[in-house]
Each structure stands twice: as structure tokens, then as C-alpha cells.
């Protein structure tokens, strides 16, 4: 079986400055790939190019058997590709409830969109208590729950997650990582996870992809990066 997401020699950047240089990687269905690397390695740029926010300057992306070139950003979520951007994934002026409704507006199956919304409230119990609060009144952890929960309402096949544990208490971050693992194992969700917190990402990932200066320098089973101290030290510096 071929991978759900196949990225081949993908390049992109801002204006004339290239940031991604011929990135190639595969993410098989139902697995978690953790993209690791220092600041400026091109991790966020990779996600923004995959979801169409940035236009690639070269290479191609195959997702679910189809080429994604020229597909507008707003159509991708209908194909099951959800991107939770870094930090500002929620609409701060809207309430929790409105944010979640927004996540399911495009869906024709209204009943299932409502069901998915109830599931999110069960999954993230603090959100249920703050339905009518505006996004800017939420704590960092609650914002991340809201952004993630809202993406889940689309019932995505592929989730692009940018720094989900940024600024969160370790306990909350661990909960979110455990949730991702559960969604992959039980519902066949596929995740491409960008993380600064290497340990927490490797604890749940199947594959570790190390990026440096816009290139993929290594793609290997996560267990190997977790267990092989020399390898980890060479590529990740700890």
C-alpha cells in the first residue's frame, strides 16, 4: 500500500528566498510522523506549503492518490486534510462554540457535524464549560484544545499539526500526544507533527524526520531516534 502523503522534491519559500529545498518524505496511513529540527529548519514552511498557504516552487505532493497542485486551500479540508497552524489556530474574537461550528460549516452531513462537536466537548471537558467564552479569554492549553478539537470536527484523514505543545504545561502536552496516538490507533488518523519538544514528539511518533536548513537530513523509525543516543546526539544535539 502506498503512503497517504507522498512528498517528492518539494521546494518553496518566501519571495526569492528558498526555505524548503527538495524535501522528500512519505507518511503511511494511520501513522504519526514527527518533523524535528532547529528554528529556521523549514518545519512550519513545510506544513504551510502542504496545505497550499504557500505555493511550491518545485516538486510535487500526492495526497490520497491525487496531485494537490492547484487545489485551493479552502477545498483541502473537504478532502480530509486539516492544518492546525502554530499559535493562532483559533479565531480569538469568536466564542468556543462558534469556533467549533465554523469547523463543521462546510460539511453536508449536518447531523454528523453536530455529533463531532459533542465528541469534542467530551474529549476536552474544559471547553464544554467555556462554550460561550470568547477565544481570547481562554488559557494557552484551552486554545490548543480548541484548535485541535475544531480540526477533528472535519473528521480528517490527515492532520498537519504545528507545535501543538508550545507553551503548554508538560502534563497537558502529554495528554495531547496520548490523544493523537489513540486517534491513530483507533480511527486510522494520520498525523504530520511539527514539534520543538523532541522527547514528547518521539514518545508517540512512528517516524522521525529531521530537518536542517530546509532539507530532510534523516528519516528513520522514531524508536531508533529514541533509543540510539549517538544518532540522537548527532542529529538533534542531546
Amino acid at each position: 500500500m502506498s503512503a497517504l502523503l507522498e512528498v517528492e522534491a518539494l521546494s518553496s519559500g518566501y519571495g526569492p528566498v528558498p526555505v524548503l529545498r527538495e524535501v522528500t518524505l512519505d507518511v503511511p496511513a494511520g501513522t504519526i510522523a514527527a518533523v524535528l529540527g532547529a528554528n529556521g529548519a523549514g518545519k512550519t514552511t513545510l506544513l504551510r506549503t502542504l496545505s497550499g498557504l504557500l505555493r511550491p516552487t518545485g516538486g510535487r505532493v500526492r495526497y490520497d492518490g491525487a496531485d494537490l497542485r492547484g487545489v485551493p486551500v479552502e477545498r483541502l479540508v473537504r478532502r480530509g486534510l486539516a492544518h492546525v497552524p502554530e499559535g493562532r489556530g483559533i479565531v480569538a474574537e469568536l466564542t468556543v462554540e462558534e469556533n467549533l461550528r465554523l469547523g463543521g460549516l462546510w460539511r453536508r452531513d449536518r447531523a454528523d457535524a453536530r455529533r463531532a462537536q459533542d465528541e469534542v466537548y467530551q474529549l476536552f471537558e474544559p471547553l464544554a464549560r467555556r462554550r460561550r467564552h470568547a477565544g481570547h479569554q481562554l488559557s494557552g492549553g484551552e486554545r490548543q484544545m480548541l484548535a485541535l478539537g475544531r480540526a477533528l470536527i472535519a473528521r480528517p484523514k490527515l492532520l498537519l499539526l504545528d507545535e501543538p505543545s508550545l507553551g503548554l504545561a508538560p502534563r497537558v502536552a502529554a495528554q495531547i500526544m496520548a490523544l493523537l496516538r489513540r486517534l491513530c490507533d483507533n480511527d486510522g488518523l494520520t498525523v504530520l507533527l511539527v514539534e520543538q519538544n523532541v522527547r514528547s514528539a518521539l514518545s508517540v511518533a512512528d517516524q522521525g524526520v529531521v530537518m536542517s536548513l530546509g532539507r530532510v537530513v534523516m528519516a528513520t523509525p522514531a524508536a531508533q531516534l529514541r533509543d540510539d543516543a549517538t544518532l540522537r546526539h548527532a542529529y538533534l544535539g542531546f
Partner: protein, 292 residues
């Protein structure tokens, strides 16, 4: 006292028109972060369409409907073929393009309809009714107030209770996130312009019979007042636009009534200046933390 009451009622009904017009400005500001300086000229153009239909069919209501439809179409057109292609990095670009549009519209109206005042009839009696011996409001004033109130309530329901309202709000606040959630942000911008121009068209139809009649420049002063009203209320706040409109209507009515009509334009500028100095965000501005 009688005079005070009369001026109050008069101020409320003209203020209602300013409120509707300020609301149109706020709608576009919220959607696109620009002040549509062509709002007045666009409203006059649609009022010409409206009154052309009135004189062809004899029905004010058909004309009003035609003006609002023309507003929807003109707003969408201006966004699709003009504003979309203006670089918004520098706010001055929007202003200059909008002012160019004003010149274009007024010139075309002058060529097609002529530069003289054309009579525009009101659908109701404009003579004030007496309430206990005091001249209060005319039936036309009541219609203006009622129509503006209805528009405010309908817009409020649209934005807070409907899926398209939610899409429009999220597009305005967070365009990139909205796109990731499947919202066609470009289309929401077009809808926002169309709605704003339709509200402007209604305001134009309401205000023209109270003045000298239809003229390519009929809305110039109204635009300045409505802009002041929007700034007074805060460009970001629909509620502020309504309160600002009524407030400015009242103030101008008192100034005109007690100090004479010559002082009116001066009063507008003094008010605008005072608000910008004391509370530049407007009375209803709220400072909020954004982003994480």
C-alpha cells in the same frame, strides 16, 4: 421646550439615516479594513436607479427594491473588478482608488441624468404630526426610523445566527485560519461589499427626499456626516455606528436649530476633531488582547 422636542425628533430621524450610512461604512471596514470613500457616490448611483424605477412604474416600493438590488450588484462589482486588485499594504491606495471611483460615478451620472436636481418624492407625508400641540415626527420620519431599525436587527441576526454570518465574521477576523477551515474568504469579501452597498442604497433612498432632490453630489455632505458618525461610534462596532449616527444627528439638529444652519458644517468638523483627539478608537472601541 417645544423647540427642543422638535429638534430632538428631527435629529433622531436624520440621525437614523446617518446611522444606516455609518453602518455601511463599518461593514466594509470590518470585512476589508478600508474606509469606502466611494460609499456616497455609490449610494447616489443606486438612488438614481431606484427613482428611475419609481417614475417608470409609479411604485415607490418597486423603486426601493430596485435600489437595494442595484446596491448589492454595484457593491459586488466594485469589489470584484476594482478593490480586489488594489494593493492594501498602503491604506492610501484604497483611499485614492475610492476617490477616483467617486469622480467616475459622479461624471457618469452627470452625463446620463444631467447635473440638475431632479425631484424625488417621499412615499409618506413629510409634514410633522402634532402630539399635544407640539410638532413631533412626520409619517416619513417614522418610516425612516422603522426601516433603519429593521435593517439593524436583520443585520444583527444575519451575523450572529446564520452560517454565512459566522463565515463573514471569521473571514474578517482571521482570513488564513478561515481558509484552512474551508471558508471561501474571497467570496465573503464580495458578499460584505454587496451587503454594505445595499445598506448604503437604502440610506440613499431614505435621505434623498428630505433634501433638495436627486443630484450626483446629493450625498457628499451626508457621507461626511456619516463618516463622522462611524468614527464617533468606532469603525469596528456596528452598535457604535448606530449610536454614533443618532448622536451626530441630534447634535447637528441642536446646532442647526439654536445656532443657525451656517454653523452645521463647522460643528461636524469640531465633533470629528474632538473624538479623534479624545478617543481615537471611537466611543465603542474595545481594547482586546489578540494572538497568543
Amino acid at each position: 421646550m417645544d423647540r427642543f422636542l422638535f429638534l430632538t425628533f428631527d435629529g433622531l430621524s436624520t440621525g437614523a439615516v446617518y446611522a444606516a450610512f455609518a453602518l455601511a461604512l463599518v461593514l466594509i471596514w470590518r470585512a476589508a479594513r478600508l474606509v469606502n470613500f466611494a460609499q456616497g457616490a455609490m449610494a447616489v448611483a443606486t438612488a438614481y436607479v431606484g427613482y428611475a424605477v419609481v417614475s417608470a412604474t409609479g411604485s415607490y416600493w418597486l423603486g426601493l427594491g430596485a435600489a437595494v438590488l442595484a446596491g448589492l450588484a454595484l457593491g459586488a462589482l466594485v469589489e470584484r473588478v476594482l478593490m480586489r486588485f488594489v494593493g492594501h499594504a498602503n491604506p492610501l491606495n484604497d483611499v485614492i482608488v475610492a476617490l477616483g471611483l467617486v469622480l467616475l460615478i459622479q461624471a457618469v451620472l452627470g452625463i446620463v441624468f444631467g447635473n440638475e436636481y431632479r425631484p424625488a418624492a417621499a412615499p409618506f407625508d413629510t409634514d410633522a404630526l402634532s402630539l399635544g400641540g407640539i410638532a413631533a415626527m412626520s409619517p416619513y420620519d417614522l418610516w425612516v426610523l422603522g426601516a433603519v431599525l429593521a435593517v439593524v436587527v436583520l443585520l444583527g441576526l444575519l451575523f450572529t445566527r446564520t452560517p454565512i454570518g459566522l463565515r463573514m465574521r471569521s473571514s474578517a477576523f482571521a482570513p488564513e485560519v478561515s481558509r484552512l477551515l474551508g471558508v471561501n474568504v474571497g467570496r465573503m469579501l464580495t458578499v460584505g461589499w454587496a451587503l454594505a452597498a445595499a445598506v448604503g442604497a437604502l440610506a440613499g433612498m431614505l435621505v434623498v427626499p428630505t433634501g433638495l432632490g436627486l443630484h450626483p453630489h446629493a450625498m457628499d455632505l451626508v457621507f461626511v456626516v456619516a463618516f463622522t458618525a462611524a468614527v464617533v461610534g468606532g469603525l469596528d462596532s456596528p452598535a457604535g455606528a448606530v449610536v454614533g449616527g443618532l448622536l451626530v444627528g441630534l447634535i447637528l439638529s441642536y446646532v442647526t436649530g439654536y445656532l443657525g444652519p451656517d454653523t452645521t458644517p463647522l460643528a461636524i468638523l469640531v465633533l470629528l476633531l474632538a473624538v479623534l483627539l479624545v478617543r481615537p478608537g471611537g466611543l465603542f472601541s474595545s481594547v482586546r488582547a489578540r494572538h497568543v
